[in-house]
Subunit: 184 residues, 2 copies
């Protein structure tokens, strides 16, 4: 979903903005419509040999949950640089190659730009550099273990990726294609 | 996710509210945390014989999408009454029996209360009564067709239900249990 051009921002938060506009209804009358915009994030599928980097993440006021490396894009930062930075900070790994794999913009009344990057052949270059709001354990898992993560209701990842993972579990060809995309 | 008791509402919208609170970080310092609250909704799995009622829905500023009967809970309305009302308005059907099947409250930084009701043995009692922001075509589908809906990225339903439907596609026993729950 896109925010209409004529919409006005009625609230600016740290992570969420709220937009209003006058929407023409099916009978020609107008009503105020509302959408939220969530600060853009990146997620990274990062490979080390035939493994994928996953995180067990803890944040204040939230139970432990599995995730991929990633986070919010800083003001003025390019998504690809955000992906490299988050990967380095959260895992200690750098990557040789990084490319945009997929994007999503949310659904219905929520505009939420999510970029999914593929970082191949990562190499451990140092320690994690975590925020004071992060506790992260890095786990390297096989492709099959990675796909099973979509079945954990706590898995924090873009829904578009979660559905792609479910589709790979349902369809052998999709699974093989995605494996080739990630490791090929 | 729940909104912490000490949180303060900093914005009240039509559908979304925004809440802030001071959150203690892992190093003992405090930061302002933000969550959104989305107006509660109901969704209804409604049966007619061995079929399930689905909708093809159109709203202003949004492409056509598949959905279940349902909608936002009115102020002061009980979720179960909201479910009966939405079913009647959107489809023209009334139900003999209705029960709460499942609930969800969202994920991460979003509090979104969603109630999923099961309405058995529905009977067509009249015409639809649609809002000026709705165009709805009612479609009765088989259980197998219903389960396949989760694979459509535009399907508007609680994520908890979408994941349950995917699990039924992956696991024969879960599929049979859910069929018994809905039609038994």
């Amino acid at each position: 979903m896109q925010i209409p051009k004529e919409a006005k921002k009625v609230f600016s938060g740290y992570i969420f903005n709220i937009w209003h506009w006058q929407q023409e209804m099916f009978d020609g009358s107008f009503e105020t419509f509302e959408m939220i915009e969530r600060r853009a994030v990146v997620d990274i599928i990062a490979t080390v040999g035939n493994k994928i980097i996953t995180l067990e993440q803890e944040q204040p006021a939230r139970k432990k949950y599995p995730a991929l490396p990633g986070g919010m894009i800083d003001k003025g930062e390019l998504p690809i640089n955000s992906a490299k930075r988050e990967l380095r900070e959260e895992t200690g790994y750098n990557c040789k190659n990084i490319e945009l794999l997929d994007e999503d913009t949310g659904k219905g009344k929520q505009y939420f730009h999510q970029s999914i990057f593929l970082a191949k052949d990562c190499i451990k270059e140092g320690m994690q550099h975590l925020d004071k709001g992060e506790k992260i354990t890095v786990k390297l898992v096989s492709y099959d273990e990675f796909l099973q993560l979509c079945r954990d209701p706590q898995f924090a990842a873009p829904y578009k990726l979660i559905f792609k993972m479910y589709e790979c579990l349902l369809d052998r060809n999709k699974k093989e294609d995605f494996r080739k995309k990630i490791f090929g």
